[in-house]
């Protein structure tokens, strides 16, 4: 079998084509990296928000319908680990710093998942819309990589990662890494949380 010139030409063009299709296939699969994570649809019915047994009402009527998990990565953490807290008495707010010793959990105080808590270890926590963040917040106001909670020696600090809508610590916009006191609201988009004992 001796292939003709034409066969070889067609085959070699086809090879280059397949090579490029492979590359564009990868780029297509990576599109969420380039354009950010898809924004969750906001609908008006709020069954979950009504079920929140928590004193602090969400400041904006943020509904919790259409909960979608767009990637396998975000589905990897089973929800059992994040237990909802029931009727926890609020400790008196004070200027005490949140350190690895004093703060043990992050509690969502407003937003669709108000009342949910998240264990704090001694590792930094990233917050944003991308699925590789530790605290994934999917709404219109959150940037892909919005902010992070990091440790300065033992103290928890919040750092805004150049987000579009800003990170607010006790109502003030965070410009430089700022240490977070216990029981003080950190607000990101329509979600706010506190670090608690």
């Amino acid at each position: 079998m001796n292939p003709s010139e034409l066969t070889l030409l067609v085959l070699r063009l086809a090879f280059l084509l397949v090579l490029w299709l492979f590359i564009f296939g990868i780029v297509y699969a990576l599109r969420s990296d380039l354009f950010g994570q898809r924004v969750r649809k906001m609908s008006t019915d709020a069954p979950a928000a009504a079920a929140v047994p928590f004193a602090t009402p969400p400041p904006a009527p943020v509904p919790a319908g259409a909960f979608t998990q767009p990637s396998a990565a975000s589905a990897s953490a089973p929800t059992e680990q994040f237990s909802r807290q029931k009727a926890a008495p609020l400790p008196p707010a004070g200027p005490e710093k949140a350190t690895t010793q004093t703060a043990t959990r992050l509690v969502i105080t407003s937003g669709t998942k108000a009342g949910t808590e998240f264990p704090l270890g001694s590792e930094p926590i990233t917050i944003g819309r991308s699925s590789d963040s530790s605290l994934v917040i999917r709404d219109d106001y959150t940037s892909t990589h919005h902010a992070r909670l990091m440790l300065w020696h033992e103290d928890w600090m919040v750092q805004d990662l150049d987000s579009t809508n800003g990170t607010f610590l006790d109502g003030k916009r965070v410009a430089v890494p700022t240490s977070v006191p216990l029981n003080t609201t950190v607000k990101i988009g329509a979600t706010s949380f506190e670090l608690r004992r």
């Binding site: 079998m1 001796n2 292939p3 070889l8 030409l9 085959l11 070699r12 063009l13 090879f15 280059l16 397949v18 090579l19 490029w20 492979f22 590359i23 296939g25 990868i26 699969a29 069954p47 979950a48 998990q69 990637s71 396998a72 990565a73 975000s74 589905a75 990897s76 953490a77 089973p78 929800t79 059992e80 680990q81 994040f82 237990s83 909802r84 029931k86 043990t104 969502i108 937003g111 998942k113 949910t116 808590e117 998240f118 264990p119 270890g121 590792e123 930094p124 926590i125 990233t126 991308s130 699925s131 590789d132 530790s134 605290l135 994934v136 917040i137 999917r138 709404d139 990589h145 979600t191």
Partner: protein, 466 residues
């Protein structure tokens, strides 16, 4: 990390609460995507070998197709291992590495056909065996290192191993000199190995660990000058030590490329750790100064510079150790044009060492500009994935390690391909994954394994989705 495991009372989980805990079956979306891309990559590799045979021999021979299939088998083995021990690892790294490795084997095979070599004399067969060994090493790394933070514990051991591996070729009796550069070790007349390739991984681990521990003193203090904060004189110690190390590589091992690789790696990781541009400027000034002095005093460096600047001068072209190879490579690239001569239909064997240092010129001749750009795009994607892993990482050691390891691949590509295309003076380094050479393959597949492990740890952290 302590986790509370109280039963969830989440509204969504309220319905099936009948006392029995059901295990969620999560489809491995990332792994399935990886499998899909791997099948395509292996198909392209097979297609490349078949095209080489059709172009150069005019018939299809089953020997290397079988060898290629065994390589595919190993890659699928790695994929299965990932399904069990690193489910959340990045799905693009493995297919890209597979495709680059396979393209390299096809090209080396094509040059073997031109040189009429077969069996164990054939570089393609040896490259395939090395690939198998390299993938086996990668699987072992994935299995042994279950968390990249283990490496942080061995920071100084890694630094020591790195320097030791660098010095190994200078040991009399063990070191081998190949075309001027003393960067090889060999036992008897066979089994030569380039320990510097493994050293770059050890050094990346060391730099990452060292900088995480000591960066405060390197970034906080210093005088402001020209709008930049320059470091204090006594904080210059680390950079001077690494600079001295790279200069001694230039002088004693006569290898410009390796020196540039190590120094560039350190500089980039220093910049990442401190965020200060003054370190980069200082380092570049140091290296350029050193290289200029070397080009004046060391004959071989001077020769490289002459070949680079005055390549098309007939006197330089005909000189012993002149620019013949460089110019032949350029002729090959020019012959390739936009879409290339087709696999197996060019004359890449006219360039000296077309299967290792000059594999990019060979590929450029047979696949053309379109093919070269495809290969560069693959490198770009691979390196971008590594940077992405570093960016998404939570701990600083992981960040530095991820970016450092992928930057090594990027810088190595730049040094080799820049040398072949006459952007910078030519230095002997291997093109990652493509070029014939076992040590380079082993090192790069270990980098792949480490990046996969890092990406798995990044995605596997406790997560709350709001």
């Amino acid at each position: 990390m302590p986790r509370q495991s109280k039963p969830s009372t989440d509204a969504r989980d309220a319905a099936p609460q009948t006392g029995k805990i059901r295990r969620l079956h999560l489809p491995q979306k990332l792994r399935n995507l990886e499998l899909f891309l791997l099948i395509i990559a292996c198909g392209i590799n097979l297609g490349a070998v078949v095209l080489v045979q059709l172009g150069a021999l005019g018939r299809i021979d089953t020997t290397l197709v079988l060898l290629g299939a065994s390589l595919s088998g190993l890659v699928f083995g790695m994929h299965i291992v990932l399904r069990f021990v690193a489910r959340e690892a990045d799905p693009f790294i493995l297919p890209i590495a597979t495709l680059l490795n396979g393209t390299g084997i096809a090209m080396i095979y094509r040059i073997d056909i031109a040189n009429e070599e077969a069996g164990w004399a054939s570089a393609a067969v040896r490259q395939t065996v090395w690939s198998g060994l390299a993938i086996a090493c990668a699987i072992a790394v994935i299995l042994i290192i279950r968390n990249h933070r283990v490496l942080f514990r061995y920071t100084y051991v890694a630094g020591f191993v790195g320097v030791l591996l660098l010095l190994l070729p200078l040991v009399p009796g063990l070191g081998r000199e190949v075309s001027g550069a003393r960067v090889w070790i060999g036992f008897g007349s066979f089994a030569t190995f380039q320990p510097g390739e493994i050293a770059k991984i050890a050094l990346a681990v060391f730099f990452a660990g060292y900088l995480v521990r000591n960066r405060d003193s390197l970034s906080m203090v210093g005088k402001k000058f020209l709008g930049m904060r320059f470091p204090r004189l006594r904080d210059l110690g680390p950079i001077l030590v690494v600079w001295a190390l790279s200069m001694s590589v230039i002088i004693f091992q006569r290898d410009l490329g390796t020196a540039l690789l190590y120094f560039g790696l350190f500089l980039v990781m220093l910049y990442l750790a401190t965020g200060r541009l003054s370190w980069v400027l200082l380092g570049m000034a140091l290296f350029l100064g050193g290289a200029l002095i070397a080009s004046q005093t060391l004959e071989y460096v001077n020769g490289r510079f002459t070949n680079w600047l005055d390549a098309l001068n007939p006197a330089v072209y005909d000189a012993d150790g002149g620019s013949y190879q460089l110019v032949q490579g350029l002729f090959g690239l020019a012959k390739g044009g936009l879409i290339g001569t087709g696999l197996g239909q060019g004359r890449p064997e006219l360039t000296p060492v077309p299967q290792s240092d000059y594999i990019i010129a060979s590929l450029g001749e047979e696949l053309g500009l379109a093919g070269i750009f495809a290969i560069l795009a693959l490198y770009l994607l691979l390196v971008a994935r590594g940077f992405r892993i570093g960016f998404a990482g939570q701990d600083d050691f992981g960040k530095l390690l991820g970016v450092g390891l992928s930057f090594v691949i990027a810088l190595q590509c730049f040094i080799v391909i820049g040398g072949v295309t006459r952007v910078i003076p030519l230095t002997g380094l291997t093109t990652p994954f493509l070029a014939a050479g076992g040590s380079s393959l082993v090192a790069n597949w270990i980098i792949v394994a480490l990046l996969l492990r890092l990406s798995d740890t990044v995605r596997n952290q406790p997560r709350l989705v709001v």
